[in-house]
Symmetry: none
Subunit: 207 residues, 2 copies
DNA sequence: AAAGAGATGTGACAAATGTAATATTGATAT
DNA sequence: ATATCAATATTACATTTGTCACATCTCTTT
């Protein structure tokens, strides 16, 4: 299994190399220090797995990953992060990165690489919980508790689609004025102050 | 490393056992055929990893996983799925399951188990894309393509937090009028018609 | 029939919003 | 110094929005 390691810090790169080569079937075929090198190295060496730091000068790991995956969609890239770079994880996953690990866990890097090699996607401890839409757990809102009727809920959903009062009125066969009253009531009940906040609130909530 | 295998189908269980024991450091210490057995086996054997089918009679793998994790939050459970059981994945992750694999990929089971053993979370090929909130088709919007500047993006995010023009103005040290112009421009560029739609659009999009 | 309750509608008003045209400012280049 | 450009600001205006008080209208209950 051929691996390329890219990391700003040569000490880290070497440490990683040592760890990896403890696996007999593993060869580190190349090493680089920034995103641009990563792109070049990948293109020339086509390693089985690319192990790359996410924070690097010049081109960062994320951008490099994107570039590489654009060209080689099946590239197996494992990103290393120090900690709490949670913001990048979603992007990384979208690009098609195959792993997102904490540098700290030295002894999990080897198994992670093997898993990635077989096509799996691997997340370091704690990282899964950073995936929004997963942990970001939309409040399961108990609309009933606020005396929100079925009809009102419908209006809310229309607001959250961006309809104007006039359009909502037409949609549910009420006068525009009544729709205004409806919304005014809803805002009062929910302690919100305008339709934008209402829309946002609704979207962050599960019906 | 001690493993317990739970699967309806004894043929599958045995096949898995054979595969696993090709790893010399691995011992299959117990085998069961449904969720209830899984719970019992886990409690009595405390395996390092529990490998479990998700579809089983009596208690299914998901429920079993929940029960076990309720009692032992650090349990490392790897669920096996035939395919396209995507609906369960989010629940599984919420419970704290450490892996979700396709049964088909025989040769990825071993590395996956090792990764799980070190605390990583592993997803089989294709499975990542099933995570809603991720694939949940937030359009990866290329704001740059619409000439949205960094500052404009900031304004947009503030709109999506429900701030009024006046508040936004105070926040970023511009006059209210300028903020209005900003937003007017943004709406024009994005072909949207008011702040509510802008907020909705933004929330359904990844920065 | 009268009264009450609930949903719907109207009118009036202030505030916020969106648009457009036109300043003002400040920095840069010539 | 002048011309130029981008960013910011101002002004004016039409619309939309949110609030409130008060009508209607329709059922139901008594």
């Amino acid at each position: 299994m051929n691996i390329v390691i890219v990391d700003d810090d040569i000490l880290v790169s070497n440490a990683l190399k040592t760890i990896l080569e403890m696996g007999e079937d593993i060869t580190v075929t190349g090493m680089g220090q920034d995103g641009e090198e990563a792109v070049q190295l990948y293109a020339s060496l086509k390693p089985d797995v690319l192990l790359m730091d996410i924070r690097m000068k010049k081109m960062g790991g994320l951008t490099a990953a994107r570039e590489i995956l654009k060209e080689y969609p099946d590239a197996r890239i494992l990103l290393l992060t120090t900690f709490s770079d949670d913001e990048y994880i979603v992007k990384a996953l979208k690009y098609g990165v195959k792993g997102y690990l904490l540098k700290q866990d030295y002894n999990s890097i080897l198994p992670a690489i093997r898993a990635v090699y077989t096509g799996q996607t691997v997340f370091g401890t704690e990282i899964v919980s950073k995936i929004p839409g997963l942990l970001q757990e939309k409040k399961t809102f108990d609309w009933e508790a606020y005396d929100i009727s079925e009809k009102e809920l419908h209006v809310i959903s229309l607001v959250a689609e961006g309809l104007s009062n006039k359009e909502i009125a037409k949609e549910i066969f009420l006068s525009e004025g009544t729709v205004r009253n409806y919304i005014s009531n809803i805002l009062e009940k929910l302690q919100l102050r305008d339709r934008t906040r209402l829309a946002v609130y609704y979207l962050n909530t599960i019906k």
